[in-house]
Amino acid sequence: MSLALPTPYRRIRGFFRAGHRSVFAYRGNLLLGMLGMVVQVVLTIVVWRVVYSGHGAVAGISKTTAVAYAILAASFQTIVMPWQFSSIPTRIRRGQIGVDMVRPASLIAQSLAQAVGTMVGRLPIGVAGILTGLAMQGLRPPAGTVAGIAWVASTAAGVANVLLINLAVSMVAFWTLDISGPMIVYRFGSAFLSGALIPLWFMPSWLRPVLDWLPFSAQMYDPLAIWFGTIHGTGIASTLAIQVGWLVMLWLLVAVIWRRATYRVVVLGG
């Protein structure tokens, strides 16, 4: 039974499905993704446990917290930050962007729908990571009910953050057709700065102020810090406020880039 949605929404739902299906497009793609996740989580847990052997708490963080963080971060990252950015750069390259420029809201909504679709498609891979973490007794529950609830809100804000930044970076494609360089710098730079690769607790102290002024920590580190209770009490409220603040700024940034992009459409291969 399908809902009878008005046409623009149906189109967007189509993009959601496209993103979702792309994950299944090839037999074994998902299975291998899950296998890869299992391997990665197992090896990561081993590395962290070995790294911690002979140490108590480091930078105030215990071994169990560090291991649990690594599992959750890896699972989150694999769902939310797939290799493929939005379809915008590909469509620009193929010259398919012209028609959609007429309806700006629709292009952005389409890209977001596709990104969300892909994320939903990748959920099984993240789940594989979580299950592996459980099997290796690496996971820890949230620091309390408040922490748990706040974590949900914080994660939602983090996902929105990722979507908006991805969109903004993809739109660089309106200016330069070959964006693989900036894309990779962004992806791995942000992976490092968001706490995805290594918890920000361990970053050298001189780097901390820089991190506070960038939106990346709001993607991964903030939600997880809330989960593990290193941010607690009133800190939770202020963290959430900052996350929302970043969302507002990113939304404005996307709007500004978009307006400049509409003046600069280069249609390749017409």
């Binding site: 299906r21 994950v23 299944f24 037999r27 074994g28 998902l30 299975l31 390749l268 291969g269």
Partner: protein
């Protein structure tokens, strides 16, 4: 030149019934579905012939061509091209054949057209004097000068096709395969390509194998045709014989300015449909020539527009297929 015996090609795919959770189920199924794309084809092509390969999409034409060119390895049967087995003697075969795919270019996308020719010259070890002579001929025949230094990605379809023709023939291959060379081109471009292909076949005795859906391509170029459907040869032989056997009618549609459509008639053709402005007439091309019908109509009526409809290839093949099926049934 080309000898094909009992050629067979099978493809095997995971077999998943469409439906709910199709994606997930495809991960776990082990059942495979085997399709026989080519089911026992045999034919010969002599040196210097210009042969057309016809058939609906999915008939097995491109699979056959890919086996002839060495891209695919046959499941069974034998192929000999100029004394070599294409998929086994791949490199030597590559030097003797030129291949043009209508849908995909072999040119280097980001470089000027001229660079692609230089690269081909180097790859195929064509010596400089021969290269310059050949390029000179092509430049004249195909009018390349205006876009020789343009990057390939900026070329129009017609220009790119011409570029591909040169690239495929630069090293003087003895056999050339053309896969849908005129698809998407305008009338002028099509004519130019056909002219060039015919010239090449005539002047140099290059064996040419042409896959096409365009009946005019066939009419103007092919001496022989091979019609393939469902992986089998439906018809193989002279084009003239094919027409006389299976093309029983062609239609002419005329537009009239003075609204006298309903009173039009012709001693050469039968009226099929008529309104005040437009009349469709039908004639048998085996008995009557199109020019005769047209000349008669234009000399007696005030015609503003006229089109001669092509005989539907699908029609011919359907008739062929029905005929062969009837043949099987009557045994």
């Amino acid at each position: 030149m080309i000898v094909v015996r009992d050629l067979v090609k099978e493809f095997s795919r995971p077999d998943v019934r469409p439906g709910r959770l199709q994606g997930t189920r495809s991960l776990f199924t082990r059942a495979r579905k085997v399709t026989r794309a080519v089911d026992g084809i045999s034919f010969d092509i002599g040196a210097g012939e210009l042969v057309g390969f016809l058939g609906p999409n999915g008939a097995g034409k491109s699979t056959t061509i890919k086996m002839l060119t060495g891209i695919l390895v046959p499941t069974a049967g034998t192929i000999q091209v100029a004394g070599q087995v294409p998929w086994r003697d791949r490199r030597e075969n590559a030097r003797t054949v030129g291949v043009i795919f209508g849908q995909r270019t072999q040119l280097w996308y980001d470089l000027p057209l001229r660079d692609s020719f230089d690269i081909i010259r180097d790859l195929y070890a064509v010596d400089q004097p021969t290269y310059e002579r050949r390029l000179g001929e092509f430049r004249e025949l195909l009018e390349l000068d205006e876009f020789l230094d343009t990057p390939v990605r900026s070329l129009s379809l017609g220009q790119r096709m011409r570029g591909d023709l040169v690239a495929a023939m630069l090293y003087e291959p003895r056999i050339v395969y053309l896969d849908e060379p005129t698809v998407g081109l305008d009338v002028v471009a099509k004519a130019r390509i056909r002219e060039f292909v015919a010239e090449t076949n005539r002047q140099r005795g290059t064996t040419i194998i042409l896959t096409t859906h365009d009946m005019d391509d066939v009419e103007q170029l092919c001496q022989r045709v091979v019609i393939i459907d469902h992986g089998r040869i439906l018809y193989e032989g002279d084009l003239a014989a094919l027409k006389s056997a299976y093309v029983t009618h062609r239609d002419v549609v005329i537009q009239l300015a003075d609204g006298t459509g309903t009173s039009v008639d012709s001693p050469y053709a039968r009226v099929v449909e008529a309104t005040a402005e437009q009349v469709t007439l039908r004639f048998d091309p085996r008995e009557m020539s199109a020019p005769a019908v047209i000349h008669d109509l234009t000399s007696r009526y005030a015609i503003t527009d006229l089109s001669l409809l092509e005989p539907d290839l699908e029609d011919v093949i359907t008739r062929l297929y029905t005929a062969s099926r009837d043949q099987v049934a009557s045994r």
